[in-house]
Symmetry: C2
Subunit: 306 residues, 2 copies
């Protein structure tokens, strides 16, 4: 069941730190297990280890770790654990991001509660962007006290209510990963990347791609009531980023989508037939987080008999 | 604190029923008290009694009752109580409406739970209109088994995130009801109506208007984080309805607004700079409920430091 988009934690260490990639495998197994997820597979590339999880993805560079989980897993305790295990003095910058939930989940802590817990291990600022009655995101951003660094460049494209025909196709019973790779045009769009993907039962698809220090990940939830596809990457080449974004938007034709760009300019989209709302946060260390929300203009409201 | 727009119950009796207006005053006092509200004042007009409540309004005609409450009061038990007290055989048509909540309210039952409870007293259909990740409304609609009738004509205009200057003005400490009446142009727009209004502390304003069998009610919640103004009426004259709607939209300039029109055509708005999404429900007895959602195109997302 769709439960809002991924929660994300990101920790980048201070310069000259010990490499995170030299930590023993069980360090990551324990972290992932503590979030209620399993490691399905891993690609060890030259500069990055890319783990495909039962509940999204984990990327580990020598000085950075980024983990995404979906569903009703809680990620903020994992961030606190990670900071405690690595040592607060090692942290350059750390962040935690979650989206509003649409269904009441009594089990989930509120962002306010999470802020209190996170601030017990590191001093940071909390932000909400977007109105409470529409898509909105929560962000926690904390800098190392001894040695801070800029937040890593990241680009997220979060697509809601995708084209019904494509969603139907992605719920098909005879799908293969090759079929979905072709649909996504991964080989054409991102030929340099090593691909690791998984098809979930009854449906759902995740793919990690890694090329040197660059990564991308796509998660597809083609649920009928609320279909959702997320793409994120640290690719910085503007033309490549635009080519991939445009292709994904053309394929999935979402009713609404959000872009979250950290220390990067959002791709300029052709906006005929859609409306853009924007907001940006500049942190006390001059990190820039840009949120764009897009809404197609011609949508019919859905109506459901209960 | 803003808790989503009003919840509404509406009961219209079968033809040749006993008059609801002859029920003793404590009948309504008890009903209102059971919802956690108080009666502030009442206007007894020729065809309608209009009660101003601490948590919205109650209107009683000889064959119909409509009650609105805001906040975290539950209204579905009041509908069940009302049907039980009046006798299911007296009911022509009954409805219950609520909007999605934005904040987690553990105390509030889900609409699914409310449906189960309501269906213990009357057989009816539940509907959801709108996506879960945007404004959406829930509606329960039930017809009398022995003698049904069409749902009464109603028009709701629900305005979210009003102009910041107007909201500021409405939070002012030296406001009077006369000031707000003038702001709303009530005397100019609706000169025939007997007005009953109340200014709440620290802010908030409610007004009932009644003229023969016609009513209107406006509730203003100028809260900074989420300002909200609702207008509803059973006025059917299209030009008057358009004049009032246009005046309210011009005054409050909301970022988004919803129209819910029961057995009535929505007012045609000049839509330059806003986008309309629509949906309509036709019940098994051919009642028509039209939902229109409007969103201004030029909004900037709000951002809040937590």
């Amino acid at each position: 069941m769709f439960e809002g988009s991924e929660k994300i934690i990101d920790v980048a260490l201070r310069p000259n730190c010990d490499s995170l990639r030299e930590l023993p495998p069980q360090f990551w197994q324990e972290l992932v297990a503590a979030c209620g997820a399993d490691i399905l597979s891993v690609v060890h590339h030259q500069s990055c280890d890319a783990y495909l999880l039962s509940e999204s993805s984990l990327f580990v560079w020598h000085d950075r770790v980024r983990m995404l989980t979906c569903g009703d897993t809680l990620l903020s305790p994992a961030l606190a654990t990670l900071i405690e295990k690595l040592g607060a003095a090692q942290i350059g910058v750390a962040s935690y991001q979650r989206k509003n939930e649409y269904r009441h989940q009594v089990s989930l802590a509120s962002f306010d509660q999470e802020l209190i817990q996170l601030r017990q291990v590191i001093n940071g600022k909390g932000y909400r962007v977007g109105h409470l009655d529409s898509h909105h995101h929560y962000l926690f951003l904390a800098y190392g006290e001894s040695s801070s660094r800029p937040a890593p460049v990241t680009y997220e494209l979060l697509m809601h209510h995708i084209d019904a025909d494509v969603a139907n196709q992605l719920r098909g019973s005879s799908l293969s990963v090759m079929h979905i790779r072709a649909l996504l045009q991964l080989t054409e769009l991102l030929p340099e990347f090593t691909i690791d993907d998984h098809l979930f039962s009854p449906f759902g698809y995740s793919v990690n791609g890694v090329n040197q220090a660059e990564y991308f990940t796509i998660h597809v939830t083609p649920e009928k009531a609320h279909s959702y596809v997320s793409f994120e990457t640290n690719i910085t080449a503007p033309q490549l980023l635009k080519r991939v974004s445009d292709a994904l938007l053309a394929l999935f034709a979402p009713e609404s989508w959000d872009v979250i760009a950290v220390n990067q300019h959002p791709v300029e989209h052709e906006l005929s037939g859609a409306t853009q709302s924007t907001c940006s946060i500049v942190s006390e260390q001059s990190d820039n987080v840009q949120f764009n929300h897009y809404q197609r203009n011609d949508i019919r409201l859905c109506c459901e008999t209960l």
